[in-house]
């Protein structure tokens, strides 16, 4: 039976301070003279809450324990109601090692094992753990996973029957058991591009307004500096100079932000796992077993499309919407050149192959997309008609806004028509869709847990259909493309009904 690292207490207190700081300042500094009941009682509540939490943090450290055997973790917690949960190693989907500044200070790290289970106990988190112990825990889980892979071999053999090439790949995989291959590290040029596409230079706006909020009240006399302001306005040169300096500062801040987030980024893989390391100050190490990846997604926002960049995301069955990560953990790298993205996908997951030429929609689909009523536009227009808001003193603003919205809706639909491409091959499904932001989805037939296709009245008239797939994730991942020919929907269903080809059943149910 093991307790968590004693510094967990300190870490939680640090988190408590971090989270309650703003509220504390509001209650005791900014509004210290306010008699408003909310602040009056809020202060008592705040103190009571913080004290209770402090007691809880200390006591819970004594109560929360964990232990392990060959196959499972057992976690115990609960002050009044004892709670024990058992989590088998085989259910662990991915591992994240997050080293914040706090951890660096003490030479420690944190470790999260995410599982595909639903509910509160879906992850095993070691908020503070020594590096050796972290390595030990990783080892513990990994050893079990290599046991697992023996079980899976049957399946991969079955897969590789299809092409010899795949068989070779499998053999190659078996040979390089532990060799790490680095696939991607961003160059400075990549990072520069990224800092412009991410619009991170706009970050200066909240920073400046934030600074003004803090400094503003401290500045002595507003009349006094209104004079300065007028002088600035009057001199054209000063304005030009100031705005140039402002822009340069904004760009520099944007670049620094991008470098600290995406600099020192490495994507590597072994035969069984994919590893992503990132961050200068806050380090994150993320590992996921290839076997557990349900599909892939490439996302291009309008701006990224202009720059030829894309973001690749892994779809895994674990719940990866963790709270305090700046970059979503399942994202490979948000600013990959599109060809590099395809290449990386194939390198990391040899099962997957990206086909460049895909089926496109016919003109009929375009008519369908344009004819479909936009409920969103109708509701907004009705609202605008009723309230008739005046914006910038323009009386006609309501129908101008409505018209603008209509144009955006139409443009989005035309773009969606242009972007939609689809292909099903042997055991793989791949499609692009989306308007302003377009997305590619790619998955294997055996990873799809349910399919459906549907037809609205209008689609029936045009002989079109919408098709959907569902993949394991939390919540279940549903992907849809609209207005494909009905024949393709039927082919799609037929293809799915051949699913047994790719799957093998467990011996004992």
């Amino acid at each position: 039976m093991m307790r968590y690292h004693p510094l967990t207490i300190l870490y939680r207190i640090y988190q408590l301070i971090k989270n309650s700081l703003i509220l504390g300042i509001l209650l005791f500094v900014v509004k210290r003279n306010s008699d408003f009941w909310l602040f009056e009682y809020g202060r008592y509540l705040f103190v009571a809450g913080v004290l209770l939490r402090l007691i809880y943090i200390v006591v819970s450290w004594f109560v929360e324990t964990y232990e392990w055997d060959d196959r499972t973790f057992q976690l115990k917690k609960g002050l009044f109601v004892k709670h024990t949960s058992t989590i088998p190693f085989s259910k662990i989907q991915n591992v994240t090692r997050h080293t914040t500044l706090f951890h660096k200070l003490f030479g420690l790290t944190s470790l999260t094992f995410e599982t595909a289970m639903d509910g509160d106990d879906d992850a095993i988190t070691f908020q503070v753990v020594s590096n050796q112990h972290a390595a030990f825990l990783l080892e513990l889980v990994n050893i079990e996973e290599s046991h697992m892979s023996k079980l899976d071999e049957k399946e991969s053999e079955k897969e590789s029957e299809q092409t010899q090439q795949e068989q070779e790949v499998n053999e190659a995989e078996n040979k390089v058991e532990t060799d790490l291959v680095t696939h991607f590290e961003p160059t400075n040029l990549d990072l520069l591009k990224a800092s412009f596409t991410s619009l991170s230079f706009l970050a200066i706006i909240p920073i400046v307004t934030g600074l003004y909020d803090i400094i503003g009240p401290l500045l002595p006399d507003s009349d006094h500096y209104q004079g300065v302001f007028y002088q600035i306005i009057n001199s054209r040169w000063l304005i030009i100079m100031l705005s140039v300096v402002g822009v340069v500062i904004a760009i520099i801040i944007g670049i620094i932000r991008t470098f600290s987030r995406y600099g020192k980024y490495r994507i590597s893989s072994s035969a069984t796992h994919i590893y992503i390391e990132r961050g200068l100050l806050d380090e994150t190490h993320f590992a996921i077993e290839k076997q557990k990846i349900q599909g892939l997604e490439i996302e291009q926002t309008l701006l990224k499309r202009i720059f030829g960049l894309a973001e690749v995301k892994l779809i895994s069955s674990a719940n990866t919407q963790a709270e305090d990560y700046v970059v979503s953990v399942n994202s490979l790298y948000p600013f990959l050149p599109i060809n590099r993205a395809y290449q990386l996908m194939e390198e990391l997951l040899p099962d997957y192959y990206v086909e460049e030429s895909m089926n496109r929609l016919t003109k009929i689909s375009l008519y369908m997309k344009l004819l479909k009523p936009s409920w969103f536009w109708i509701v907004v227009t009705a609202g605008l008609f009723y309230f008739k808001p005046t914006i910038f003193q323009i009386d006609a603003a309501w129908w101008l806004l409505s018209l603008l919205l209509l144009l955006i809706v139409i443009m989005n639909r035309i773009l969606d028509y242009l972007h939609t491409k689809y292909l099903i091959s042997e055991d793989q499904l791949q499609w692009w869709h989306g308007g302003l932001t377009s997305r590619m989805f790619i998955t294997k037939r055996r990873r799809v847990i349910e399919i459906s296709y549907s037809q609205s009245i209008l689609q029936r008239f045009f002989k079109l259909a919408s098709i959907s797939t569902m993949n394991r994730s939390i919540p279940a991942r549903i992907e849809t493309i609209n207005d494909v020919p009905l024949d393709f929907a039927k082919t799609f269903q037929h293809w799915y009904l051949q699913r047994q080809k790719d799957t093998t059943y467990q011996q004992n149910g």
Partner: protein, 160 residues
């Protein structure tokens, strides 16, 4: 593609209309009470408008609830094989669903008071990400189907 094999019980439209009508009557009574309260306490004018809008929807919904069950019955088909459960249904939007047996996690039947009168049962199938209901089958058919799905769903794929 060929139509799927099985249909719902032919008693489905009748049972559905009765249960929906009961629901609608209760809804309309509640609405009538609200109108009376509006009149009695002199609620503001916008409350009036909302009530009228709700009334319009309720009336339209009531009319629809008399028409829909027949068409829904005609559209509903299901079929099971050793590997898949297939469903197709829908009046305005038509839907075709394919679920692999190995992904089904639970199957249950249930019976409300009106369905008991007609000796019908509904079947609910749940997977990791969705749930599907076959709304009305003859009691015997439903129990057999449940047993069969439960048997077939026992097989699990290696993948998980």
């Amino acid at each position: 593609m060929n139509e799927l094999e099985h249909r719902l019980s032919s008693k489905f439209p009748k049972a559905r209309i009765i249960s929906e009508t009961i629901g609608n009557i209760i809804g309309l009574i509640v609405l009538a009470v609200l109108f009376w309260l509006d009149y009695y306490f002199g609620w503001p004018i916008w409350a009036n408008w909302i009530l009228i809008a709700v009334l319009l929807f309720a009336v339209a919904g009531t009319i629809w609830s008399f028409i829909e069950p027949h068409y829904l019955y005609r559209s509903w088909r299901y079929q099971i094989s050793n590997e898949y459960l297939q469903l197709s249904y829908g009046v305005i939007n038509k839907e075709w669903v394919t679920v692999p047996m190995s992904k089904i996690q639970s199957v249950s039947t249930s019976q409300g008071p009106i369905m008991r009168v007609y000796q019908l049962r509904s079947i609910k199938v749940e997977t990791m990400g969705s749930s599907h209901v076959i709304p009305a089958l003859e009691e015997q058919v439903a129990l057999e189907l449940r047993a069969k799905i439960a048997e077939l769903a026992k097989l699990k794929e290696v993948d998980e």
